[in-house]
Symmetry: C2
Subunit: 195 residues, 2 copies
DNA sequence: CTCGTAAGGTACGTCGCGTACCCTATAGGG
DNA sequence: CCCTATAGGGTACGCGACGTACCTTACGAG
């Protein structure tokens, strides 16, 4: 009858189905049977491509996130940083973010998978964005050149992540974001002027 | 025959059995049937006390951790901070830490349980220790009084935590700890001198 | 002594992962 | 143009583990 799908075509269909399940119900509900049914195939086809559920979940995640990478330019370092942090907070507290956190938890004991997640979640791109933001601040004379450092750039995001790990998940309140910037990030940037 | 255990006595037996399972095989292997068998009872007695596996795991965790809280006094802020961070890294990379991380992952969607974990994991005590360490540095004239701030005190630990979330689990290499102190914590403390 | 409460024993429903087996279409080479 | 290796389809199942149901048995308080 209808031509039987193969290779690339089938693979895309499976990924699409898995992504839909992720979007609608989250990782916990993304069962292998449901994905197979939704893709109009069976678990065999899936297990031939991915060794287990977690791998499929991670592979499917990229179909969700179009990774809207913000690049705010408010004129001040404080404004830019707050804006980026707020954006990150919004992403992490959205359904997307919930899925991402669940995937992280599921892959927590497998470094291979963790790398895959980092790759697909756009974390590296995010880190670069913070660095260029710092460079702009240096150009404006708002920050010392020594402030352009990976650890400095990633600190606010790291703190936000840790905040998520501690609390439950509604989302981190804005006061906390402001505090991260005003009490940690900006003092840190200033402090790097005088070694 | 032998007098049947009840109430408090039985409860302790269950917690002890669960803790042993946690120590020997980790949270993933701590199955309800095994705990029941090891405690010489059955699942009924467990489910009458804790609603689900995660709750039992968290309750049992306190039997593991004797919470060795370090209070180093090396004479310098840098020395103290590094020591505390190293201690934390060691704890988190030990079997204990693995259990704790697994519990965190399991409770990640239940704020009630997260609070319980924070309580039992000695996180608050740890935070206080960092604060008093900062106060000592202020007394020595090594840090400005404005550096004594909760966000400042918790930053290194938060960064370490986030580091764990990103990588797999062997343990965080010492260079990273040094970098957290030298490139973030100390500059931050300095930077808080000049608002 | 009796009666409610809690423990013991056991079996079961359910769910979801991962696997096994066998059949069927299809692509690609001879 | 056929034929065979390969991959997809269908289905069933083993298994582990959670959580529940139901009955029986000890214990302690009145």
């Amino acid at each position: 009858m209808s031509t039987r799908r193969r290779g690339e075509e089938l693979e895309q269909a499976i990924l699409h189905a898995a992504a839909e399940e992720l979007r609608e119900s989250g990782y916990a509900e993304m069962t292998m049977d449901r994905v197979a049914a939704r893709a109009g195939t069976n678990k065999n086809a899936i297990y031939r491509r991915w060794p287990h559920r977690a791998a499929l979940g991670i592979a499917a995640y990229r179909h969700l996130s179009d990774a809207v990478m913000p690049n705010p330019d408010t004129g001040t370092l404080r404004g830019d940083a707050l804006e980026m942090l707020r954006q990150a907070n919004q992403t992490w507290s959205s359904p997307h973010g919930t899925v991402l956190r669940d995937l992280l938890a599921a892959a927590a004991d497998d470094p291979t998978l963790l790398d895959l997640i980092r790759e697909r979640s756009g974390a590296d791109t995010m880190d670069r964005a913070w660095l260029t933001m710092l460079e702009r601040a240096v150009a404006r004379g708002e920050a010392p050149p020594t402030a352009v450092h990976p650890r400095v750039a990633t600190t606010p995001i790291m703190l936000l992540r840790a905040e998520y790990a501690m609390r439950g998940f509604p989302s981190v309140p804005d006061e906390v974001l402001v505090e991260i910037i005003d009490e940690v990030f900006l003092p840190l940037v200033r402090g790097r002027a005088h070694p």
